[in-house]
C-alpha cells in the first residue's frame, strides 16, 4: 500500500481520507510555526499553525507535492519556515560537518590503533618542579590582599548595572484590545496595580492621541516594573511626541533588549531614525520587526511608507 501511495505522490495525485491526514501531518511537521517557539506546525496548537496546517491540507488535496508545498511556504515566509535545512549553499555545512567529523574520527582511531599496536611508545618528559613564582607572591598575606582587591574591583565593576529584571509574561503583539477605554479605566480604579490593564489603556490612549494619558499610565507601570518592554515603548512614543528623541531612543533600546519580539518598539526606532534622516537604519529596524513577525510584514510596510510620506511632507512644506 505504501508503495502505491508513494507512486501516487510522485505524480501528484490529489489525496483524501486518512492518507491525506497522514501526509498533512508529515508535511506540517517539516514547517516551523512562525509565532511559536521552535515548534512545528504539526505540533503547535496556535491559531497561525492551525491555519497553516489547513493550507497544507488544501494544497495536498489539490494534488501539490511535498516539495511544491515546502517551496511555496519558503517563498512567503523565507527559509526560516523550513525545519529541515536544504542541502544548499552555506546550509549544506550543517549536513556535511557531522559527516566530516565521523571521517576524521575513524581516521584518528585507525591510526591510534595501528601505532599503538606497533609498540610505539612516546617519550615522556619528566615533570619539572615549578617553583618559580617570585618571593613577594609567595607570602600568603599578599596573595589574600591582592585577591580581595580583585574581588572588590570586580564587584564594583558590575554594580551600576544592577536592576531588577521584570519578567512579566511576554505580550502577544497580535492581540488587539477591543475593550473601550472606559472599561479599562474602571478596572484600574478597582485594582490600581493591574499593570496589564494599564498598558492596554496606554495603547488605547495612544491610538486616540491622548499623550498625557499614555504618559501617566506608562509612568505608573514603569515605577513598579522598570523593564516592562511595552510600557517602555509607549513611554518612548510620548517622548517622541514631546520632542525628546534622545530619551525615546534610550527607552526603545531597553525595550527591544528586554523583548526583541515587540513590533511596536521597532516601529518606534524606525520613526526616530526617519526623523533623524537615517532611512537605512529605519529600514533595518522595520526589517528586524518583519523578520521576527513575518505575518506582520504587510502592516509594517504600510506603516513605514506612511512614516516616510509624513516626514517628506513635513520637510517639503
Amino acid at each position: 500500500m505504501i508503495t502505491t501511495l508513494l507512486l501516487l505522490l510522485l505524480v501528484g495525485q490529489p489525496l483524501s481520507g486518512p492518507a491525506l491526514d497522514v501526509k498533512t501531518n508529515e508535511v506540517a511537521s517539516l514547517l516551523r510555526c512562525p509565532v511559536c517557539q521552535g515548534m512545528s506546525v504539526a505540533d503547535s496548537p496556535s491559531e497561525m499553525a492551525v491555519n497553516m496546517k489547513h493550507q497544507v491540507r488544501e494544497m495536498l488535496a489539490r494534488g501539490d507535492s511535498k516539495e511544491q508545498i515546502l517551496e511555496s511556504f519558503e517563498r512567503s515566509y523565507g527559509q526560516f519556515v523550513l525545519l529541515k535545512p536544504k542541502f544548499k549553499g552555506v546550509n549544506s555545512l550543517v549536513w556535511l560537518l557531522p559527516i566530516v567529523a565521523i571521517g576524521i574520527g575513524v581516521f584518528v582511531i585507525s591510526r591510534t590503533i595501528s601505532r599503538r599496536r606497533a609498540g610505539h611508545v612516546i617519550e615522556v618528559e619528566p615533570v619539572t618542579d615549578e617553583v618559580s613564582a617570585s618571593r613577594a607572591l609567595r607570602s600568603p598575606l599578599w596573595i589574600a590582599l591582592v585577591a580581595a582587591l580583585v574581588a572588590v574591583g570586580a564587584w564594583y565593576a558590575v554594580q551600576p548595572k544592577a536592576a531588577v529584571e521584570a519578567q512579566e509574561p511576554k505580550p502577544q503583539p497580535e492581540s488587539v484590545v477591543v475593550d473601550p477605554a472606559k472599561q479599562l479605566e474602571a478596572t484600574i480604579r478597582q485594582s490600581p496595580d493591574n499593570l496589564e490593564a494599564r498598558i492596554a489603556l496606554a495603547k488605547l490612549y495612544f491610538d486616540r492621541n491622548n499623550m498625557m494619558g499614555v504618559f501617566d499610565q506608562t509612568q505608573y507601570v514603569l515605577d513598579r516594573s522598570p523593564d516592562d518592554s511595552r510600557a517602555l515603548t509607549y513611554q518612548a512614543f510620548v517622548r517622541i511626541a514631546m520632542g525628546q528623541p534622545q530619551n525615546a531612543a534610550k527607552l526603545l533600546a531597553r525595550a527591544t533588549a528586554a523583548d526583541p519580539g515587540l513590533t511596536d518598539a521597532w516601529i518606534g526606532i524606525a520613526w526616530i531614525k526617519t526623523e533623524d534622516g537615517l532611512p537605512a537604519e529605519a529600514q533595518a529596524a522595520i526589517a528586524e520587526a518583519g523578520r521576527r513577525h513575518p505575518e506582520e510584514r504587510e502592516r509594517l510596510a504600510r506603516v513605514y511608507a506612511d512614516m516616510k510620506q509624513r516626514t517628506q511632507r513635513r520637510d517639503g512644506g
Partner: protein
C-alpha cells in the same frame, strides 16, 4: 533585614572565593601545606556563606518579606507552600542563588573527601573550583542580585505560571543544577592533572566518582524535562530538540563518553589526554548551556529567564575556553599512556568507537543548535534547524550506539581468537531475532524501528548474560553490575523511544456532552465541563469517560488553567498510562455554552517505559559510586595489608 543580611553573605562569599582561589593556586606553586590548609578553610567558608544566603532567601520567601526584590518579584500570598518554597528557582536571580548553593555543597563535599589525599593536585583543583565559585558570586553580587531592598507592595505576582502548573517543573530545575554544577568538580580535578602534567591512576577514582554523581543528576534532569513536556505541553511528545533541551543533552553526551573512556584508561592505561579533554569539554558545554538558557539568545519555551547577564556568562565561557585550550596545548603531551591497544575488534576497540559516536553525536547536536545563530550573525538571514534535521542525523548514530552496546560488552579485552569471537558474538543473535519477531507481530513496520528492535534484543541478551556471568558473580563487583544495569536501562530507553515515536497515533475529536465518539479502539464520552477555583488559578475542566473495546477504563480531565498574570490560558493534558502505552487527551478548545470540547487524542505505545528505564539508568549510576565510597578505605587497607604480607 533579610535583604541586607543576604547582601552581606553574597559579598562575603565573593570575597572568600576570590581570596581562596588565589591562595589555592599559590599553594599549588609553593607546595606550602599551610596555604593549602587555608585554601580548604576558605572553600568551606564559601559553602557556608552560600548555603546561608540561600537559607536567608528561603526565609524571606516563606515569611513573604516583600522588601526583598526577588520576593517582590516572584512571591505571592496566594500561592501554596510548595510553590513558595520552589519560587527560589522560578526566576533568574533566585535560580543563580540556588546554583551558588549547590556549588557550595559540591565544593564542600569534594574538599572533605579529598582532605588526606592527592596532596599534589588538590591546591589547583580547589583553585579552579573557587574561581568558578567567584564568578557566580560576582553574578549574584552584581547584575543578578536577588537581595536588593525595595518598597514593599504588600503582595506579589507569584512565580511564572508554567512553574505552578505542574509538580515536575518544580523538581526538574534542581536536578538540572545538581547535574550542571557538579561538573565543576571533575573539571577542577582534570585541570589540576593538566597543570601538574600527570594523571596517576590514584586520581582516576575521584574523577570518575565526581563525574558519575552529576551524570546521574543530569540523566534524571533530562528525563524529568521530557516527562514534564509530555505531561504539560499538550502535543504528546517529550523531546522537541529545543535549543534548551539540547543544552542539557550536550554535556550529558560528553560526560557519558568520558565515563566510558575512563574505563579503558583504568584498564589499559591509554586515552589519558582524551579523557581529560572530554571532561574539560563537558564543563565548557555546561557553561555554554548556562549561556543558552540564561541569556535568551534562543527563542524557546525556557527563555522566560532571559536577562542582561548573558554577556557576562559569554565572557566566562570565552575565558574558560581559552584557559582549557591553552592548558591542553601546553600539557596534553605529558599525559601519555602507559599501555597500548591490541586491535580494533576488542572491547577497548569498541570503547573507542563508542567514544567516536558520542563525540559525533555531541558535535551534530551542537552544530544543529548553534548553526542558525551563526548564520544569522554572519549573513543576517534567519534559518531553522529543527526536529526533522535532528531526527535524520541522530537516529542512525543512536542505532549504531545501540549496536555497540550489544557488541562491546560481548567482546573480550585484548586480542581474541576467531573461536572466542564466534562464541561471544553469535548466541545473542537469538535475542535479536526474538525481539524483532515480537515487534513485527505487534505491528512495527518502520525500518529504523525494526533495526532498533533487533539491536536492542541483541544488547539485552548480552547485558543479561553479562550480569549472570561467573566473573561478575565471583568478584561481586558492584561497579560491573551497576554498569550492566545502566546498559539495560539504556537499551529499554532506546527501544521505547523508537517504538513510541514511530508507532503513535493522533486524531482530533470533537465531543458533545453525552454523545460517545470513537478514536481507534477507544471510545470517549464527554461527561461534563466544570469550572474550578484555586487560590492561584482557575480551571475549566472537561471530564471524559474513556473506554477501550467497550470496557470502561478511566476518567480523564484535560483542562485549561487560567492564571491572573497570564492572558492566554495554559492547557494541561491528561494521560491514562498503562504498561503497553498511553492514552493522552489534550484540549484544543472548550465551549461551555455549547457543552462541547475539541480534543487531540494521542495514543503512544510504550512511552511510559522511557521514564522508568531512565530511572533505572540513574540508579545504576548511583550504585556504581555508592559502594566504592563506603568501601574505599577498607579496600585500600586490604591492598596495603596484602603488600605487607
Amino acid at each position: 533585614m533579610n535583604a541586607a543580611l543576604g547582601r552581606v553573605l553574597i559579598l562575603s562569599s565573593l570575597l572568600v572565593s576570590t581570596v581562596g582561589a588565589f591562595v589555592a593556586f599559590a599553594a599549588g606553586r609553593t607546595r606550602d601545606a599551610q596555604s593549602l590548609k587555608w585554601a580548604r578553610r576558605l572553600a568551606y567558608a564559601f559553602s557556608a556563606l552560600m548555603i546561608g544566603a540561600t537559607l536567608v532567601m528561603e526565609r524571606a520567601l516563606i515569611t513573604h518579606d516583600f522588601t526583598v526584590s526577588y520576593v517582590a518579584h516572584v512571591g505571592s500570598l496566594s500561592t501554596p507552600m510548595w510553590v513558595t518554597v520552589a519560587s527560589l528557582w522560578s526566576s533568574l536571580e533566585g535560580s543563580l542563588l540556588f546554583w551558588g548553593c549547590v556549588m557550595g555543597i559540591y565544593i564542600a563535599i569534594a574538599t572533605f573527601f579529598t582532605r588526606e589525599r592527592h596532596r599534589e593536585f588538590m591546591p589547583d583543583a580547589i583553585g579552579v573550583w573557587l574561581s568558578c565559585a567567584a564568578f557566580f558570586s560576582l553574578l549574584l553580587a552584581g547584575p543578578a542580585n536577588p537581595f536588593l531592598t525595595v518598597v514593599s507592595q504588600g503582595d506579589g505576582p507569584g512565580p511564572n505560571p508554567l512553574l505552578q502548573n505542574h509538580l515536575l517543573m518544580v523538581v526538574h530545575p534542581p536536578f538540572l543544577y545538581l547535574g550542571y554544577v557538579g561538573m565543576t568538580i571533575p573539571f577542577g580535578l582534570a585541570c589540576a592533572a593538566l597543570i601538574k602534567g600527570s594523571l596517576p591512576s590514584s586520581l582516576l577514582k575521584p574523577i570518575r566518582e565526581s563525574l558519575m554523581v552529576p551524570w546521574v543528576f543530569l540523566t534524571f534532569a533530562i528525563m524529568l524535562g521530557g516527562w514534564w513536556a509530555y505531561e504539560v505541553l499538550g502535543w504528546g511528545g517529550y523531546w522537541a530538540w529545543d535549543p534548551v533541551e539540547n543544552a542539557s543533552l550536550l554535556p550529558w553526551l560528553t560526560a557519558t563518553a568520558a565515563l566510558h573512556s575512563i574505563v579503558v584508561l583504568e584498564r589499559r592505561g591509554v586515552l589519558k589526554g582524551w579523557t581529560v579533554t572530554l571532561i574539560l569539554s563537558t564543563f565548557l558545554l555546561v557553561v555554554l548551556g548556562t549561556f543558552m538558557t540564561r541569556s535568551g539568545v534562543f527563542n524557546s519555551v525556557h527563555s522566560f529567564t532571559q536577562s542582561a547577564i548573558g554577556p557576562m556568562i559569554l565572557g566566562f565561557l570565552a575565558a574558560a575556553l581559552v584557559f582549557t585550550i591553552a592548558l591542553l596545548s601546553m600539557r596534553i603531551n605529558r599525559l601519555e599512556s602507559d599501555g597500548n591497544f591490541d586491535g580494533a575488534v576488542s572491547r577497548e576497540g569498541m570503547f573507542l568507537f563508542n567514544n567516536l559516536l558520542f563525540v559525533v553525536l555531541t558535535f551534530t547536536v551542537l552544530i544543529g543548535t548553534v548553526f542558525p545563530l551563526v548564520v544569522e550573525a554572519l549573513r543576517g538571514k534567519q534559518m531553522s534547524v529543527g526536529r526533522p534535521y535532528f531526527d535524520s542525523m541522530v537516529v542512525p548514530i543512536g542505532t549504531l550506539l545501540l549496536f555497540l552496546l550489544g557488541v562491546g560488552p560481548a567482546l573480550p579485552w585484548g586480542k581474541a581468537t576467531a573461536k572466542q569471537l564466534r562464541r561471544a558474538l553469535l548466541p545473542p543473535i537469538v535475542g535479536a531475532v526474538i525481539l524483532l519477531v515480537v515487534g513485527y507481530a505487534f505491528g512495527a513496520r518502520n525500518p529504523w524501528t525494526l533495526i532498533t528492535l533487533a539491536f536492542g534484543g541483541y544488547a539485552a541478551q548480552v547485558t543479561l548474560a553479562q550480569m549472570r556471568s561467573p566473573i561478575v558473580q565471583l568478584r561481586k563487583s558492584p561497579r560491573r553490575i551497576a554498569a550492566h544495569v545502566v546498559h539495560a536501562g539504556a537499551v529499554i530507553v532506546i527501544v521505547a523511544i523508537a517504538i513510541s515515536s514511530t508507532m503513535r497515533y493522533t486524531q482530533e475529536v470533537h465531543a458533545v456532552v453525552g454523545q460517545p465518539v470513537t478514536a481507534g479502539a477507544y471510545t470517549l464520552t464527554l461527561i461534563g465541563i466544570e469550572e474550578r477555583q484555586e487560590p492561584h488559578r482557575s480551571s475549566t475542566v472537561a471530564r471524559f469517560l474513556v473506554a477501550k473495546n467497550g470496557v470502561q477504563k478511566t476518567i480523564l480531565e484535560p483542562r485549561m488553567n487560567h492564571y491572573q498574570t497570564m492572558r492566554e490560558p495554559i492547557g494541561t493534558p491528561d494521560v491514562y498510562s498503562t504498561i503497553a502505552g498511553d492514552f493522552y487527551l489534550s484540549v484544543l478548545n472548550i465551549d461551555p455554552a455549547q457543552q462541547s470540547v475539541s480534543v487531540n487524542v494521542i495514543v503512544t505505545p510504550f512511552v511510559g517505559w522511557i521514564w522508568f528505564a531512565v530511572i533505572l539508568m540513574g540508579l545504576g549510576g548511583l550504585a556504581a559510586v555508592l559502594p566504592s565510597v563506603t568501601l574505599s578505605v577498607p579496600a585500600e587497607t586490604i591492598a596495603t595489608e596484602a603488600l605487607v604480607a
